[in-house]
């Protein structure tokens, strides 16, 4: 049993899921679901589609380099079965997963931090530049030129009986 990766979105394909397309040069494209298969048929580039892993990696939205990814690599060398080794591996999977999740959360937190500080700075700058446009409500009340003058508008008359008939 082998867990493959989707060609389009790079998610894990569990046995019995998805579809695989074999090109005439024997290259195999595996897809996790019909959504990815359809996007492939529409000739979309996964690097340009925002929800794929390829896009997120390319644009620095996800963690790219980490030692936890090394464990989940495809190896072409078959491993000789060893009961103790298997047991250790199963234990290690949980720990590694925890570490990875923690590091990912940290990565996202760091990314958000920079963005928030930048937004704050820009807002402060805009405020400093255009403070002269802001007037206090009390000032508006005192100076008549700042508000629109009040006007009296005539209410339109009801239509006469003849007009109604013509309709």
């Amino acid at each position: 049993m082998r867990l493959e990766k989707c060609w389009f979105c790079s998610s894990t394909i569990y046995p019995g899921h998805g579809i695989q397309f074999v090109r005439n040069d024997a290259k195999i494209f595996r897809f996790c679901r019909s959504k990815c298969h359809k996007n492939f048929k529409m000739k979309r580039n996964p690097r340009k589609v925002k929800w794929t892993k390829a896009y997120r990696r390319l644009h620095g939205k996800d963690m790219t380099q980490d030692s936890t990814f090394e464990f989940e690599r495809k190896r072409n060398r078959p491993e000789r079965y060893d009961r103790n080794l298997t047991e250790d591996t199963l234990k290690a999977i949980k720990t590694i997963d925890k570490v990875r999740v923690k590091r990912e959360a940290k990565h996202h937190k760091l990314r958000i931090q920079g963005k928030k500080a930048m937004e704050h700075r820009e807002a402060a700058k805009e405020l400093a530049q255009s403070i002269h446009m802001v007037k206090a409500p009390a000032a508006l009340q005192q100076d008549a030129s700042l508000t629109l003058p009040k006007m009296k508008v005539k209410v339109s008359q009801e239509k006469s009986q003849e007009n109604r008939m013509e309709e």
């Binding site: 394909i13 019995g16 998805g18 579809i19 695989q20 074999v22 090109r23 005439n24």
Partner: protein
């Protein structure tokens, strides 16, 4: 007085009609848009189907035939799928090959554009429809097989084709 009441009635009637007119427009519009969507889907990607009578298939061995036309699927009501055996007539052949144009031959479908379920529930599909010519006993006529073939041929007892193949998908 009478005129005014009549005009009121007229207006009321018109508003009712307007209401009636307004309501049915929505469903019809919706139906039209959904139709357009389905049409677009069909045009963008052709629906792949079974290998049936008059399907043209590429021959991917060195038996001498280049193109065959399916005239009968040996199993299945709707037609043949990946791994099934068909009866075909040779439409194009190379000069000096083992089979001649117009000959009726047997063939195993080794590639099909229509997807086929695998034993684990996933599906597999190929680029084109291709066939390997065999005799009545199921032994391949040619001595080479080009391109990828599915491993399901082993279940269908075509181990010879699998061993000749370049790639197994």
């Amino acid at each position: 007085m009478a005129a005014s009441s009549a005009s009121k009635l007229f207006r009321a009637g018109r508003s009712l009609l307007g209401g009636l007119n307004k309501n049915p427009t929505y469903p019809s519009e919706l139906a039209r848009t959904s139709n357009e969507f389905t049409c677009m889907d069909i045009f963008s990607q052709q629906q792949r189907t079974f290998i049936q009578m008059r399907t043209n298939l590429k021959v991917v061995d060195n038996s001498g035939a280049k193109r065959v036309m399916c005239i009968q699927a040996l199993k299945g009501k709707k037609g043949a799928r990946l791994g099934d055996t068909i009866v075909a007539s040779v439409k194009e052949a190379q000069p000096g090959g083992k089979v001649k144009k117009g000959q009726v031959v047997y063939g195993v479908v080794v590639r099909a554009a229509m997807q086929r379920g695998r034993c684990d529930g996933s599906e597999v599909k190929f680029d084109d429809n291709a066939v390997v010519l065999v005799n009545k006993q199921g032994e391949p006529i040619g001595t080479r097989v080009f391109g990828p073939v599915p491993h399901e041929l082993r279940k269908k007892k075509h181990v010879k084709i699998l061993s000749l193949a370049q790639h197994i998908a």
